[in-house]
């Protein structure tokens, strides 16, 4: 009997080194749980996130991509997250315009002190993406292992 396996989405979380990555560490230090499907990639600043990386993640099988950075005004590099905010807003709007589920992409500002927010955000995001199901609209079939 084949039991239908529960869908576990692949989530890529890009976290800026100074706030959100530290926030993620803090949620670990505080033993706050969030699903293992979330894998974090450390980037120096949210402004390092090239839209290319997001599309790449979807191509390679991600079902959701989230960017976490310092709160606006708190960027370690002063202005990085302001640029990231515009870039991501426009990119997400474009993905939505192309009919790709807008819930698959998200930006959250998580400070180094917000371990609880990090865990809560991830839990919520995983739940949202799980409900959406597999990424079909921006998939690259070549990358889906048979």
């Amino acid at each position: 009997m084949q039991v239908k396996e529960e869908f576990k989405p692949t989530i890529v979380a890009f976290c800026c080194n100074w706030c959100s990555y530290a926030g993620a560490d803090l949620s670990g230090t505080n033993r706050l749980q969030y699903p293992a499907n979330v894998k974090i990639i450390r980037i120096p600043c949210s402004c390092r996130l090239n839209p290319m990386f997001i599309l790449r993640a979807f191509q390679r099988g991600a079902d959701g991509v989230i960017l976490c950075g310092c709160h606006p005004g708190d960027c370690h590099y002063t202005t990085g997250n302001y640029y990231a905010r515009r870039r991501m807003t426009l990119l997400f709007s474009m993905l939505d315009y192309l009919g790709i589920e807008r819930e698959r992409t998200r930006v959250e500002w998580v400070s180094a002190a917000e371990g609880a927010k990090f865990a809560a955000t991830m839990n919520d995001f995983v739940e949202t993406v799980t409900k959406l199901g597999e990424n079909k609209r921006l998939e690259d079939l070549r990358c889906k292992s048979e």
Binding site: R60, R142, C143, S145
Partner: protein, 333 residues
């Protein structure tokens, strides 16, 4: 010769599609394309499709082989698309001639087995032209658009579709169709082709004899000047046959595939030492020299162009083989 009432066309397509995959030219004039036939699909009003029938035999992207990586082992996996028989209906005389040209490239030794398989599996049903576009100049290459080649040739008048099998494959295809009856097509009216503006393309100077002279002509500079270096002409061309072999790493597998390349691209035939044709002028010249000089010089004077006129319609800056041929072929008083 067989005939089939126009009213029975859908039934004819259905019968063909029941046996094998059937492609027909369909869609709006601006975007007409060969597509797999489905119930209710209409033939396009356009004279010709945007992309040529070449695509069905030599697709833009084609998988060749996979390399599977497990740990530190690499396994080689054949990855050919499954061979299935198919029919293309509505190929124009120009596109049909393009297969002669492609065959000479792909089926000479070493044979391109990917192309070969598709050629063997594909049946070409051509359609005679009655209302050419002003951009048509197939007659310049000795093609009779009113009497196209192919496995099966077709004509229409207001009531009937007339079909004539030219090859064994064609005979076999027609033999199984119950809606066909005997009947001959009325004689074609060729007068309109006489009025085609480009019918007298000055091709005498081309064909391989004046290779170096043509190569060094100063007019190339002016012709190539505005070329954007896009691949439109090559990708809509029924005779362009250049491809690149590329690899895609999926993470645990490497997929080797081939895709069309364009001699107009800056990385065409890029080598470790650099680009053999470093400027657009050289790349531009390559394309037209190939069609009008290099190909004929190695293939008994046969030109690498069939006069379908697609590049005339599609070039973003309206530079094309006709302008090249006229510039280089006419003058020289």
């Amino acid at each position: 010769m067989k005939k089939c009432p126009i009213s029975q066309l859908d039934a004819l397509f259905a019968a063909l599609a029941a046996q094998q995959k059937l492609y027909i030219p369909t869609g709006e004039a601006k975007t007409a394309a060969f597509k797999p036939w489905e119930e209710g699909m209409k033939l396009t009003d356009a004279l010709n499709t945007v992309r040529s029938a070449k695509d069905l035999f030599f697709p833009q992207v084609e998988n060749l082989v996979n390399f599977k990586v497990t740990g530190k082992e690499i396994e080689i996996i054949e990855n050919r698309d499954p061979a299935e028989p198919f029919v293309v209906f509505g190929v124009r005389a120009c596109d049909c001639r393009s297969f002669d040209i492609l065959d000479k490239v792909f089926l000479c030794d070493p044979v391109d087995t990917y192309y070969q398989t598709r050629r063997e599996n594909g049946v070409i049903m051509t359609m005679a032209c009655t209302e050419p576009e002003e951009t048509c100049f197939c007659t310049a290459f000795g093609i009779d658009p009113t009497d196209p080649a192919g496995d099966v040739s077709c004509w229409t008048d207001s009531e009937n579709l007339y079909l004539r099998a030219n090859t064994e494959k064609g005979e076999k295809l027609l033999s199984g169709l119950p809606m066909l009856s005997e009947g001959d097509a009325p004689a074609a009216d060729k007068s309109v082709f006489e009025r085609l503006p480009l019918k007298n393309l000055p091709l005498d100077k081309f064909g391989g004899e004046h290779m170096m002279e043509l190569f060094n002509r100063p007019e190339w500079k002016g012709l190539a000047e505005s070329c954007l270096g896009c691949g439109t002409c090559t990708f809509v061309c029924p005779t362009c046959q250049c491809y690149d072999i590329k690899e895609f790493n999926t993470g645990d597998e490497i997929k080797r595939f081939r895709c069309w390349d364009s001699c107009m691209y800056s990385d065409f035939t890029l080598m470790s030492a650099g680009q053999p044709r470093p400027t657009q002028l050289e790349r531009f010249r390559q394309r037209f020299m190939h069609k009008l000089v290099y190909y004929p010089s190695t293939h008994d004077g046969e030109f690498g162009c069939v006069g379908c006129g697609r590049c005339l319609q599609k070039c973003p800056i309206s530079m094309n083989i006709v302008k090249v041929a006229k510039t280089l072929g006419e003058e020289k008083e």
